[in-house]
């Protein structure tokens, strides 16, 4: 059952994951941290585990959508098969869509309906990324209201204004955690 749930969850994530990796995080979070899947007793991950997986994905090569699918697939089932099924499932919907309607879209990019749909999706995607951030702002990730908030603010300033690479941010904050906690 867990395999079927995993496949269905990642097909959904792959099919509705518009707007890139960070927007997809909101879907992944919903399926793995919030929903209790059919025939199961608890969500697959705690919020802490989810946050850690995002951190690990940031530090490994490749797209975050694949990285998280591979990791969560393994974590949830404890098997390579689960990992492979989640990874294939997240890629399959867009693989089929791109082959089927990619050329059509390329020829009809000026079509009003298509343009209107993309125009309507864009602001929703912004909200999805924001919700991914909001959902992670809780006691599990900010156990104290001092050091953890300081790390978050400094990391934000470094990535936004000093344009530091996300990998460097993860490494620096890891060192900060080692020293502070």
């Amino acid at each position: 059952m867990i395999y079927i749930n995993l496949i269905l969850a990642y097909l959904k994530i792959g099919l509705f994951g518009f707007g890139g990796g960070y927007a997809m995080l909101s879907l992944i979070q919903h399926e793995t941290v919030e929903v209790i899947h059919h025939g199961e007793s608890a969500p697959w991950l705690t919020l802490q585990e989810f946050t850690d997986i995002v951190a690990i994905s940031q530090m490994s090569p490749g797209p975050i959508g694949i990285n998280s699918a591979t990791y969560i697939g393994y974590k949830v089932t404890g098997s390579v098969l689960g990992s492979a099924l989640a990874t294939i499932s997240v890629c399959l919907p867009s693989f089929i869509l791109v082959l089927l309607i990619g050329t059509f879209l390329l020829k009809n990019r000026e079509n009003k309906y298509i343009q209107n749909v993309f125009k309507a999706i864009r602001p929703v995607v912004v909200g999805m990324v924001a919700s991914a951030a909001l959902l992670l702002m809780n006691k599990e990730n900010f156990p104290d209201y001092t050091k953890s908030i300081a790390i978050c603010v400094i990391a934000f300033l470094l990535v936004r204004y000093a344009k530091l690479h996300p990998i460097l941010i993860v490494i620096l904050s890891g060192i900060a955690g080692y020293i502070l906690y």
């Binding site: 946050t51 390329l106 990019r109 990391a155 990535v159 904050s173």
Partner: protein, 183 residues
């Protein structure tokens, strides 16, 4: 194996293995290899196909490799190009996952992750601002992302509902506009 197929697979495998920083970093690498080195796409074709890959759901880098593979060798090309993009992260992450479950409870690892977690939140706040700018969010439509974020976060509605609503709104608005034009 066909030479072209092998070239597709190895090119995308290399990009998948050595690009840190997610989809957009991979696109920059792809442009170098696809346009400059192998000349599979002209620069203009690359930009057009990127727009398509971006507008599709799913993983940008995979979508892009499917478009390139499909042009060079149809469905077989698309499959091998996609596999090339996926396999490196799959192998690396699987190894990390297997190793990580054994050290997760270590107190040193826990204190390192205590520092990393708030920084991850910051890493997700930053793209909210950049995507808001790209989506041309202004006073008139700022309620859409705010309502979406609040309803997903605090009411627990699935993000899928909002994507579906946006698609329905986009199509029906266009339909009504067309009707009014004709009337």
């Amino acid at each position: 194996m066909n030479r072209e197929i092998y070239k597709l697979f190895s090119t995308f495998f290399k990009i998948g293995a050595f690009t840190f920083g997610g989809g957009w970093a991979m696109i920059a690498m792809m442009e170098k290899d696809i346009v400059n080195k192998h000349k599979w796409f002209s620069h203009e074709e690359f930009v057009d196909n990127l727009a398509i890959a971006q507008s599709m759901p799913g993983i940008l880098a995979v979508n892009m490799s499917v478009l390139v593979g499909n042009k060079i060798a149809k469905k077989t090309g698309a499959t091998f190009a996609a596999l090339g993009t996926i396999l490196p992260s799959f192998i690396i992450i699987l190894a990390i996952a297997m190793f990580f479950v054994t050290i997760y409870d270590n107190p040193t690892v826990e204190s390192i992750f205590k520092g990393i977690r708030p920084a991850v939140v910051a890493l997700i706040i930053a793209p909210v601002l950049t995507t808001a700018k790209a989506a041309k969010i202004g006073i008139k439509n700022v309620w859409v992302p705010i309502a979406t974020a609040l309803l997903i976060t605090f009411v627990g509605i699935s993000p899928i509902a909002f994507i579906a609503a946006a698609i329905i709104y986009g199509v029906s608005k266009c339909y009504i506009d067309n009707k009014n034009l004709k009337a």
